[in-house]
Amino acid sequence: MTVMKLVSRTKLYWGLIAIFLIGIIWSPLTSSGKNIFLSSGNLLDVLRQVSTTGLIATGMTAVIITGGIDLSVGSLMAICSVVCAMLLTVPGETPALMLGVPSVLLSALVIGAWVMRFVFLNLEKSRTGISHSRDLTLDRVRGVYIPALVGIVLGAVLLFYLLPQSESKFGVLGVLLVVPAVGLLFGAINGIVIVAGRLQPFIVTLAMMVTALGIARLTAGQNNAVLPVYTGSNATADFDILRSLVFGIIPMPGIFFLVAIILYAVVLNLTPFGRFVYAIGGNEEAARLSGIESGKIKIVTYAISGLLAGIAAILYVAQYRQGKPDAGAGLELDAIAAVVIGGTSLMGGRGSLAGTFCGVLIFGLLSNILQLHNINSNLQLVLKGLIIVGTVLVQERNAREILARFRLVFPRRARSEASGEERPRKETMSLNTGGNGNETS
């Protein structure tokens, strides 16, 4: 029984392991008999290929755990890729600069002020011994004036760093500062509209998806469907660092992805913020009544989702040497699929970044295997679709349940069977009904 329990607990990893084994066994060999699939080069190729989707899926996971969804990430990535390419290749007052610099200023202002306030709150906590920040009040000087000042100073410092760069073309650091800020701003707008307007995340982010695509095209301009980035000729050579191999083997985009997902996983699992995210997804009303500032938490998850889309865009530009308004087209759906394959419930409240990591890798390895076998592109799509449904089915149900539904076997009488799962009550084909509600928290 414990073995069964263990198997069902680790279902997620079994899918990954299975696909890995299929890859190894079925892999073509090099002329010297080496396994191509298993070669470090190939596996690191996969890591590099999934890093864009992976970064987006990382932000998406937290959004989905709060019970939301972010359809705008593909378009946000498009804007960011255009801004990135334009800053790198076109000097002077470009639309990208007009979009980028205010974003940086605003982000600096808000983040600077927030960090300062956070510091004051914690000082106050240790001084008074009150454990909940909502029971604390800061006076005006420490609560408003000093944080605002810090934010303004931070913004001014960044402005002094960035503006001289706009005379010529931006370097890699400037881009790394500006582009994620653009993503952050648009993501935050998503969150603010959802929270302040009390609207469905689906429709708000859908609207943002359309709007952002338009802005991306406007930024790029009618005659620039694609902005090529040739490092060393029309852009600085140090941008190359973002597609270099660290220690000669590990691709830089992969490192960005790994660092981002690990950091976010730590935040989600070990900080109050992370607990609040799960709590909001579980029952938003209850979370709000128990004193969680659900609005703020949600805005932050959308903002981070946008930020990660911005980082993904920079890596995209580095890897494919171009920024364009259709860069992230359809990516939001790939990311959602990866998140759901990873066991995160679209209903919210349940899921993990470890699962998302597996989901992203399952997707990446699958494409790699099909590609290595030179399977026809159209057939690849069919197989991918089938495997999404199959994986989610295995994720959410076990074989006995499925067979029982079709009266092929008798259902077990005891509800608490080995897997510890309840049988689904709803008669829907939906992929996320019922299921094991107490897997997390």
């Binding site: 002329s31 190939n42 469907a225 090529p228 890897q319 494919y320 171009q322 030179n374 592109s377």
Partner: protein, 322 residues
């Protein structure tokens, strides 16, 4: 009283009209009445379409008597249909259309023809032959030119040898099939040429081609030539090979030859050759103007291709202001 006023007015108006029309008759149509030509573009987001628009705008600038109205179908059939309907309402003197797809736009093209507007179909045809003229490139022809050159690069007819990677454009699109068929008319005759991939589609995109090539490089120790159905895909494959340190062993061939893309890459020595898929922008407008001035035009104009290699790339770039 009232009736007399209107009568007076009518007489004055008629007199005015007749005098102005007399004037215009003397000066010819060029002065007062501009030729209003509507152009319905499928999308402007692809580089080739952007070049297409640049070409037609540049040509229109050479004809002061022409007023060109360009609409953008935003890559959606229904938007383009609405665009054309709009142009019909505006009663343009001639309609140029580059359809997003054949079937979906045939209806509205027929509508324009019924409204007595001469229609010029550019690049992709529609399923009627009542239009005045079709202007477009021939993808099969271009595919053949690429195939012939590929055989030459791999050792010449009869003794060509090598492993070829072909990266398809969109699988459901006619241009991709034509570019494939034309190419294989030459390469399939060579027993020494081995095709490594089976219908791998990069969907015309540089990034997707990059990933296909990255995997193909892992899978095959020897690749001699890459044929991309367009330049960005050939270039994406080149970048993948470059990142794997193998670009020196491989020849890359693309199609389209846009000045800012393929021609530049050929000039940099990154691609071996690219084949011009000319935009019908300039030629289409010239033909329409010719027709409106009463000259006869042919039913079908096929734009020729051009092989762009290191020898002529620099000149083409200079001609296009690069």
């Amino acid at each position: 009283m009232k009736r007399r006023d209107t009568l007076k007015l009518a007489v004055v108006a008629a007199a005015l009209l007749s005098t102005t029309s007399l004037f215009t008759a003397h000066d010819g149509i060029a002065q007062d009445k501009k030729l209003r030509i509507g152009f319905s573009q499928a999308t402007t987001i692809e580089p080739w379409r952007a070049q297409f628009n640049k070409d037609i705008i540049a040509e229109a600038a050479k004809h002061p008597e022409v007023e060109l109205i360009i609409t953008d179908g935003e890559d959606k059939t229904e938007k383009q249909v609405a665009d054309v309907e709009n142009l019909i309402r505006q009663e343009v003197d001639a309609l140029l259309i580059s359809p997003k797809e054949s079937a979906g736009l045939t209806g509205v093209v027929t509508q324009a023809i019924d409204a007595k507007i001469p229609v010029f179909v550019l690049d992709r045809n529609v399923e009627t032959d009542k239009y005045v003229q079709f202007v477009g490139g021939d993808n099969k022809l271009i595919g053949r030119a690429a195939g012939e050159y590929a055989v030459e690069l791999l050792g010449g007819p009869g003794k060509a040898k090598g492993n070829v990677v072909e990266i398809w454009g969109g699988m459901g699109t006619q241009p991709a099939h034509d570019r494939h068929d034309g190419f294989h008319e030459f390469t399939d005759k060579e027993p020494g040429i081995k095709n490594l991939l089976d219908q791998q589609s990069g969907d015309w995109k540089q990034d997707q081609a990059y990933n296909i090539m990255a995997t193909a490089l892992r899978n095959n120790e020897k690749i001699d030539l890459v044929y991309g159905h367009n330049d960005p895909m050939a270039y994406g494959a080149y970048l993948a090979a470059k990142d794997a340190g193998r670009e020196k062993d491989i020849k890359f061939i693309g199609i389209d030859a846009l000045p800012g893309e393929g021609v530049t890459w050929v000039n940099n020595g990154e691609l071996s050759a690219t084949f011009l898929y000319a935009t019908p922008g300039a030629e289409g407008l010239r033909q329409a103007i010719k027709y409106l001035k009463g000259e006869k035009v042919e039913k079908n104009v096929v734009l020729p291709t051009l092989k762009v290699t290191k020898e002529n790339a620099a000149k083409i770039m200079k001609d296009n202001g690069l």
